[in-house]
C-alpha cells in the first residue's frame, strides 16, 4: 500500500474536510486535542485508502463515517475516565451562568444518549447536515432520521427537566 496523493493534493483535502470531521469528533469527545487526534487518524486512513471515490460527496461521507467509528472507539476506550470528569463538570457548576450550566449539562446528557440518537444529533446540530444527507450517510430513511432527532431531543428535555427539578 502506498500514499496515493501528493502533499499539495492532501492539503486541499484537509482544507475541504478537516472542520467537518473535527465537528463530528468534537461532538463525541468534547476535547480539542482528542478531536484533532481523531481527525489526524482519519486523514491518515484516507491517505492509505486504496480505492478512489466517484464523487466528492462519496469521499466526504466515507470520511465522516470513519470519523464516527474512530470517535466511538475513542470514547469507549476512555469511557471510565471521562465519566468521572463529566460528573465533576455537572457538579462543579456554582461559578457559571445558568446558560453555561445548561450547555454543560446538555453536552453531558448527549454523551449518555444511545448511539443511534447521538450520531444523528451530532450530524444535525454540530455538522449542520440536512436530514436527507444524514439518511444517505447512515443508510436509513429520512423519516427515521427525523424520528431519531425527535426522540433524542425528547430524552434531553426529560433529563434537563429532571436535573432542574
Amino acid at each position: 500500500m502506498a500514499i496515493r496523493m501528493t502533499e499539495e493534493q492532501f492539503e486541499l483535502k484537509y482544507q475541504m474536510y478537516s472542520q467537518d470531521l473535527f465537528n463530528v469528533a468534537y461532538g463525541y469527545t468534547r476535547n480539542v486535542q482528542d478531536a484533532e487526534d481523531i481527525v489526524q487518524n482519519v486523514f491518515i486512513k484516507l491517505l492509505q485508502y486504496e480505492y478512489s471515490f466517484r464523487t466528492n460527496n462519496d469521499e466526504k461521507y466515507w470520511l465522516i463515517r470513519v470519523t464516527i467509528n474512530e470517535s466511538i472507539n475513542f470514547v469507549k476506550s476512555s469511557h471510565k475516565k471521562k465519566i468521572v470528569l463529566d460528573e465533576d463538570i455537572v457538579r462543579s457548576t456554582s461559578d457559571k451562568t445558568k446558560e453555561n450550566i445548561d450547555k454543560d449539562n446538555i453536552r453531558f446528557f448527549i454523551e449518555q444518549l444511545p448511539e443511534k440518537y447521538k450520531v444523528v444529533l451530532i450530524l444535525f446540530y454540530f455538522e449542520n447536515m440536512k436530514t436527507v444527507e444524514i439518511s444517505n450517510l447512515l443508510d436509513i430513511s429520512e423519516a427515521a432520521v427525523r424520528k431519531r432527532l425527535e426522540r433524542a431531543r425528547d430524552i434531553l428535555k426529560k433529563k434537563m427537566e429532571a436535573y432542574n427539578g
Binding site: I3, S18, I44, Q48
Partner: protein, 246 residues
C-alpha cells in the same frame, strides 16, 4: 422546553472551536513515515519472503487451472469468437464491424466492414492497477499497422497478453492513438489487454446494466474518412482485486 433544547443545541454547535489549519503537513509526514516503517521490516525477513513466494506460486498455479476451467465453462470459444477470429475465410465479414451507435461520435467511420483485421472482446477483469478489457485481434497481413482508440473511454495503456505486437502511442491532431504493428511470424492471433483507469468501468457498471465499449480503428494510416468502429458489450467482469482468481 422543546425550543430551549433546540436553541441550546444550536449554540453548542456554533461554540465548537476551529480546527488547527496547519496540521495537514504533519499528518502527511506521519502517514509517509508509517508507510515506510511498514514496508522495510517486512522485506528484511527472509522467512516471510520465502513463505510469500510459495503462497504466490500456489495461487498462480490455482489461478492458471481455474482459467482453463473458466474458458471451457464460459463457452468463450464456443460462440462467435472462434468463428470470427479464427476464421481464415476473408470474405466473411466481422460481425462486430461498424455500428450505428458510433454516429455522433465518429461520423466518418466507414459504413462497410473490412476483412483484414478482426477484433473480438475476449473477457474483462478488474485488477489492482486497471480495469482491463482483453481483446483478440486476428490480423491478416504481416507487419500491418493499426491505430486504435476507445471513443467513449480513455485508454491508459495497452499490454501484450499473447502474440507479437509492437505498441507505441502517436498523437494525431491532438488525438492520442495506439499504434499496433503486428508480427505474424508465429501467429496472426494476438491478445491485447486494453487497460483503463482503475474503477472507471466498475463505476459505470454499478449504475447501468448495459455498457458498450467502443473502439475506433484505422488501418495503415489515420485517415478520418477510412475508420472502422467496433463496439463490445462489457459485462460479467471478473474481479481479481480481492484475491479472486480467474
Amino acid at each position: 422546553m422543546d425550543n430551549k433544547i433546540d436553541v441550546l443545541l444550536e449554540q453548542i454547535g456554533s461554540d465548537i472551536p476551529k480546527v488547527n489549519p496547519n496540521l495537514s503537513s504533519k499528518i502527511y509526514q506521519t502517514a509517509v513515515n508509517r508507510e515506510s516503517k511498514k514496508i522495510i521490516p517486512f522485506f528484511k525477513k527472509p522467512f516471510i519472503i520465502a513463505f510469500t513466494s510459495i503462497i504466490l506460486f500456489v495461487v498462480t498455479l490455482i489461478g492458471t487451472i481455474n482459467l482453463g476451467q473458466a474458458i471451457v465453462s464460459n463457452d468463450i470459444f464456443n460462440g462467435n469468437i472462434f468463428e470470427n477470429i479464427m476464421n481464415d475465410n476473408l470474405s466473411k465479414p466481422n460481425t462486430d464491424g461498424p455500428n450505428s451507435s458510433f454516429e455522433g461520435y465518429a461520423p466518418n467511420l466507414s459504413p462497410n466492414t473490412q476483412n483484414t483485421v478482426f477484433i473480438e472482446h475476449y473477457y474483462s477483469i478488474y485488477t489492482k492497477e486497471y480495469d482491463v478489457v482483453t481483446i483478440i485481434i486476428n490480423n491478416k497481413i504481416n507487419y500491418q499497422k493499426i491505430y486504435i482508440k476507445a471513443y467513449n473511454l480513455n485508454i491508459e495503456d495497452i499490454k501484450i497478453n499473447n502474440g507479437e505486437v509492437t505498441i507505441k502511442q502517436v498523437n494525431v491532431d491532438d488525438e492520442l492513438f495506439f499504434e499496433l504493428t503486428f508480427d505474424n511470424t508465429y501467429t496472426n492471433i494476438h491478445y491485447l489487454d486494453i487497460c483503463f483507469k482503475k474503477d472507471v468501468i466498475k463505476n459505470i457498471l454499478s449504475s447501468t446494466e448495459r455498457f458498450e465499449l467502443g473502439f475506433i480503428v484505422y488501418i495503415n494510416e489515420i485517415d478520418k474518412n477510412k475508420g472502422y468502429g467496433y463496439d463490445f458489450q462489457v459485462s460479467n467482469v471478473i474481479d481479481l482485486r480481492e484475491g479472486n482468481s480467474l
